[in-house]
């Protein structure tokens, strides 16, 4: 993993860095809270946390417009929040309530907010790739200058659909960014045991522009994504960004992770994207009180969302039944 020393960027503006920190903290604190709610039995079903990977969605989504589309995967909380999904309706959804963004029908694995271009977390590994491809096609056909981003893990490198999408994206020169969050794990198995190629080598075979970044450095992610997105918007075709990152938790919450070495588990949190960005803030002259204040503000915002979600009404069955089709026939 890359060096821990935060790079100093002369043009980095303090307010901008604080804004990024707020975004990182929103995901971090929301997911830590979800982890506790899950442990307390308040979250139905199962959830996959992206703790340790927050810098990737924040860095990639920071400069996207709401009209730019993203498609996500089962570990999609960070993508949803980074793209601007409303925090209250995010918690309402995951707790299975009527006022959730998906009216309690999708839950953690399907959080979506079309109004901010978030085309859904997805329960099928690799499926978001083709949805993003279609989103990019819509932008290209409609000549909007918009882009689409597909977030997927290194486990999805073994899905055949990735080949189809890399190929079709390259053939059509779509405004599309493939973002591979490489945390080294394909569910419960080391990707090194199941995936032969290096991610960027795979993309390069299609003539796609690639970059590999330290995925736990939010600025590095943002800048690399910015370069590839600029190419995509300019009609140069898709980009492929490999973000090397760390999965702190199990594949799902409650996963005992017996397959994971003790040393690997204890080292996981060492390279924390949130504290690394915090160190950068300190170096910029942001005071400890300011940083603590921001954390308190975000924590209070999360608690408010949790309270709202707990109090939310249960979903309406008749309404759900009526929403299978827009226009029921016969």
């Amino acid at each position: 993993m890359a060096s821990q020393a935060p790079a100093t960027r002369p043009n980095a503006d303090k307010a901008d860095l604080l804004d990024l920190h707020g975004r990182l903290l929103t995901i971090r604190l929301a997911e830590e809270r979800l982890g506790r709610l899950f442990a307390d039995g308040e979250v139905p079903g199962f959830i996959h946390l992206s703790l340790g990977q927050e810098a990737v969605p924040v860095g990639v989504c920071r400069d996207l417009a709401p009209s730019d589309a993203i498609a996500s995967n089962h570990r999609g909380h960070g993508h949803a929040l980074a793209k601007g999904m409303d925090l209250d309706r995010f918690f309402l959804e995951i707790l299975g309530k009527e006022d959730g963004l998906c009216r309690g029908r999708g839950g953690s694995m399907h959080v979506a907010d079309f109004s901010v271009g978030m085309l859904g977390a997805n329960g099928i590994v690799g499926a978001g790739l083709s949805l993003a491809l279609g989103g990019a096609l819509a932008h290209q056909v409609s000549k909007t200058n918009g882009v689409a981003v597909a977030f997927f893990g290194d486990g999805a490198l073994a899905e055949g659909l990735l080949h189809e999408c890399l190929n079709l994206g390259a053939v059509w020169k779509l405004p599309l960014l493939f973002v591979c969050e490489n945390n080294g794990w394909s569910e419960f198995t080391r990707s090194a045991d199941t995936v032969a190629p290096q991610p960027t080598a795979l993309a390069a075979a299609y003539g796609i522009a690639t970059e590999t970044v330290d995925g736990n450095d939010v600025l590095a992610v943002r800048e690399a994504a910015g370069r590839l997105l600029a190419l995509a918007r300019a009609g140069k075709g898709p980009g492929f960004l490999e973000c090397r990152t760390t999965r702190w938790r199990g594949h799902f919450e409650g996963d005992p992770q017996k397959y994971r070495a003790e040393a690997d588990l204890s080292a996981a949190t060492a390279n924390d994207p949130v504290s690394r960005h915090e160190a950068r803030l300190v170096e910029m002259g942001v005071t400890a009180a300011e940083i603590a204040g921001l954390r308190e503000t975000v924590a209070a915002r999360v608690e408010k969302a949790v309270a709202k979600a707990r109090a939310g009404a249960l979903p309406d069955f008749a309404r759900a039944l009526g929403d299978v089709y827009t226009k029921a026939g016969a």
Binding site: L119, L131, V141
Partner: protein, 324 residues
Amino acid sequence: MAETRYGRAIAKALEDAMAEDPAVILFGEDVAKAGGPFGATRGLLERFGPDRVRDTPISEAAIVGAAVGAAMGGLKPVVEIMFMDFITLAMDALVNQAAKARFMFGAQGSVPMVLRTPHGGGIGAGPQHSQCLEAWLAHVPGLKVVCPATVGDAYGLLRAAIDDPDPVIVIENKALYAAKGELPDQPEKTPIGKARLARPGRDATVVTYGASVFTAIEAATTLAKEGIELEVIDLRSLQPWDEGAVLASLKKTHRLVVLHEAVEAFGVGAEVVARLADIGFDELDAPLLRVGAPFMPVPFAKSLEDRYRPDAKALIAAVRRLLA
């Protein structure tokens, strides 16, 4: 009114829809430069250009997945899967993505896409190019499934499918592409979910769809010589299907058989007769019957395939059972 081929009616429907709405785009294998494997998209690239009419690689999963994403992004994509057998490669996009999106995301949006694909045998295409898999799709909440038999419905159902805000699978038939029929100069759209009375009759009802409509008409013509009058209902739409029209016919004839080229077991016919056994029980003067293909893959050799496909003779035998 002019005589038109079924395949040409599809091309006209696409042309009219694309002329009317710039959001309608078309992509699939060989649909642009080659004009479609069955010629159903001929001339559209020339008229609408390469942005809206696109050849794809041989990538069924990406084709259908991209259609779902593009539909979420505001377009109305119409994609073609060359043989219905190949939807197996795109089932995630259809079943887990297209069908679920509206419901699963709390009706934030819908997926206004159309997938055109031909089913059916009779041309010696063998086990992987002849299947009728419509029951799979009709079984999935969120998908609509239509199956035009006539030239008019080839046009009208496709137009309605493109207008529909939800994902619609339009199942064509390879044996019908060259069939001729009348198409008005200003053809109408065929509402999804409405059956058509293909032939009125009083003695027994045949419920069918697609190319089997013509098999039913053939059987009806034969039986008419004996004074037996079959009523033939062309479902046109399989999901949703017009149970009201079928029940009305049963009330008239009190005898009913479903005919389809698909495998009989667990098929569309099973759903129709199960439903009619419930809502039409008091009307029945005979058991509800099904005539479909035997439980085996579609064989290649003509002698085998001829025996495999349900024909007028098989239907007539079933009708005789109804009337016995």
